[in-house]
Amino acid sequence: MSWSRKPPIPSLQNERAFLKQDAVFNNAKLAARKGGDKEKRWYKEVGLGFKTPKEAKEGTYVDKKCPFTGDVSIRGRILTGVVRSTKMKRTIIIRRDYLHYIAKYNRYEKRHRNLAAHLSPCFVGVEVGDVVTVGQCRPLSKTVRFNVLRVSKAQTKTSKRFQKF
């Protein structure tokens, strides 16, 4: 049995402005007296049966666009899709496949749409091919109007394969 030293907690203050949750006031006076180490954290339930991830409640990240710990509300559409790319900072591209009916031929054709969704830091290890549920929120950027609410690991290997939902 070996006891390993805990790695130093990486500083989350990497920006030029101090990152903090607006809803939380860390009273410097009380902190000095009680000597508490635990940071206060604010989080909320997004509703519609979605569970707030443990990482959102216990983590230390600050993300104002996170549906659980930030200032966005989920309302409108709830959609699902496959993760296509995770190269952006805190946002992902989702691919949604669907069938379009051509009446003349009585048949369907495959179509797809890409969707940009904000990915909160509480979802760790999201990879290309994972199935993801996103909820509509207010515009967060030029193309982002959705926020990731739930991630489930991919079963199949390919992501570009057609998967209907």
């Binding site: 402005a17 101090f18 903090k20 410097a28 006076k29 009380l30 940009a116 030029k142 193309t143």
Partner: protein
């Protein structure tokens, strides 16, 4: 004016150029930024959509600032713009914007503290004893028995953090602007404390 806030002039998500099919609309308008500076108060009211008004502060010198841990808010003079996370230019030109770190006059807060706790502020170590002899008028004022008992009851909560205490010594506190002077015409905010204060003091020091 010319400033519009539409997205029709921007390329779409796929990169396609969007054709212009209509002129600019009034509801998409944008206005010139206020660039509020330090100086004698000068505020212009602007009539906005719906008959409402916005108050564009062009020059401000005071604001309402709150001391969070003590739950006190006082109107104070703004002395200096010290740091801006977005743009150093705004510091150089002493522009008041939301989120800017400024220095405010500590006098009203010191007066409140001395009245509330009956203790001096901002005097270091040994000097504290000598200084309180030549104390401010608040401290040396004659207090009734009842008042003295109240003050003694508060004494154990009187300790404030060292970083803040030092600032009182120099007569200036670091604060952060929380209102939008170009929208509301006011420059209000809160005094920096704890981790936030530590963070910004470090940033200011490394810049110098």
């Amino acid at each position: 004016m010319g400033i519009s806030r539409d997205s029709r002039h921007k390329r779409s998500h796929t990169g396609a150029q969007r054709p212009q099919y209509r002129k600019k609309r009034k509801f998409e308008l944008g206005r010139q930024p206020a660039q509020t500076k330090l100086g004698q108060k000068s505020i212009h009211p602007i009539k906005t959509r719906g008959g409402n008004f916005k108050f564009r502060a062009l020059r401000l010198d005071t604001g309402n600032f709150s001391w969070g841990s003590e739950s006190v808010t006082r109107k104070t003079r703004i002395v200096d713009v010290v740091y801006n996370a977005s743009n150093n230019e705004l510091v150089r030109t002493q522009t008041l914007v939301k989120g800017a770190i400024i220095q405010i006059d500590a006098a009203p807060f010191r007066q409140w503290y001395e009245r509330h706790y009956g203790l001096p502020l901002g005097k270091k170590g040994k000097k504290a004893q000598d200084a309180s002899a030549a104390a401010s008028e608040e401290l040396s004022k004659k207090k009734s028995n009842h008042l003295q008992r109240k003050i003694d009851g508060r004494k154990k909560d009187a300790k404030i953090e060292q970083a803040l205490d030092d600032q009182f010594g120099s007569g200036r506190l670091y604060a952060r602007i929380a209102s939008r002077p170009g929208q509301s015409g006011r420059c209000d905010g809160y005094i920096l404390e704890g981790k936030e204060l530590e963070f910004y003091v470090r940033k200011i020091r490394t810049k110098k």
